[in-house]
Symmetry: C2
Subunit: 135 residues, 2 copies
DNA sequence: CTAGAAGTTGACACCGGCGTCAGATTCAAG
DNA sequence: CTTGAATCTGACGCCGGTGTCAACTTCTAG
């Protein structure tokens, strides 16, 4: 598929896709004429890149992470050097902390939503009002 | 406490603390001479602000969130508008997805680290080698 | 009182992620 | 071949969060 379709399907601008490629996050075959040609795997990858950006990681860290994630087809891509293993371990710990932070933030959000919505009890116009009960 | 101490205790630069204040995220009493004077609550608040930044929220959203958090002393401050509750709920769901993604990423990382380090079994020179067993 | 540490405001700059425009090239349909 | 849509590269700029420097004021120890 070409860049326009990938952009539509992943919900990311073409600009960003080219930027990802420039950052080494996303690769593409080229048609004889030089147009980018992506496989199906690209959609998932782009979505994953987005998630990592949203998680507050920058291009460099994402670039370190991505080659180690299997892309649907299950190819483990690269095997790691000892050095890389250390770096990945460090990254894992950072991820752990990040997740813990985010969970705390989410819980804080939950508190706020609970407090606020109980304060508004009488006005359930909001439709999607209360947060889902399970958790 | 004054800005230097708050900076040390929260691990945030003085510059950022002043920036937070400019963004309406953090308030301070002033000494007669104009120096900022923070209470104990400030440390927790700054840390929370950091966590929210790390969660990918921007100043504006944090500014909307903060007045709804009770700050230690338990003052519920403002009650949220229905509109805000909806936005916060959406934000919570975004966070949920983000966390799920990150957990998956972390698990993938774990797989890679396991695979790689069992492949390197005989060379535990790396010191901080394998990932911590518990989890 | 005095010196030096610490704080104040204001400005300028950077960097990362991305929007956007321009001009050239390629692709697909007639 | 022609034409219009899609893509290419390269450049400029914005915005948010911080670093940093400058010039000045305030606080505190001696």
């Amino acid at each position: 598929m070409r860049i326009g379709e990938l952009a539509r399907r992943s919900g990311v601008s073409e600009r960003s896709l080219r930027y990802y490629e420039a950052q080494g996050l996303l690769s593409a075959e080229r048609t004889p004429g030089g147009h980018r040609d992506y496989g199906e795997w690209a959609v998932d990858r782009v979505i994953r890149i987005q998630a990592l950006y949203a998680a507050g990681l920058n291009s460099k860290k994402i670039a370190q992470l991505l080659p180690c994630m299997r892309d649907g087809d299950g190819s483990p891509s690269d095997s790691a050097t000892p050095r890389l293993v250390d770096e990945l371990t460090a990254e894992r710990e950072r991820l752990d902390r990040l997740i813990a932070d985010l969970v705390r933030s989410r819980d804080v959000l939950d508190d706020i939503i609970d407090t606020a919505s109980t304060g508004l009890e009488a006005a359930p116009l909001t439709g999607s009002g209360g947060r889902p009960p399970g958790h």
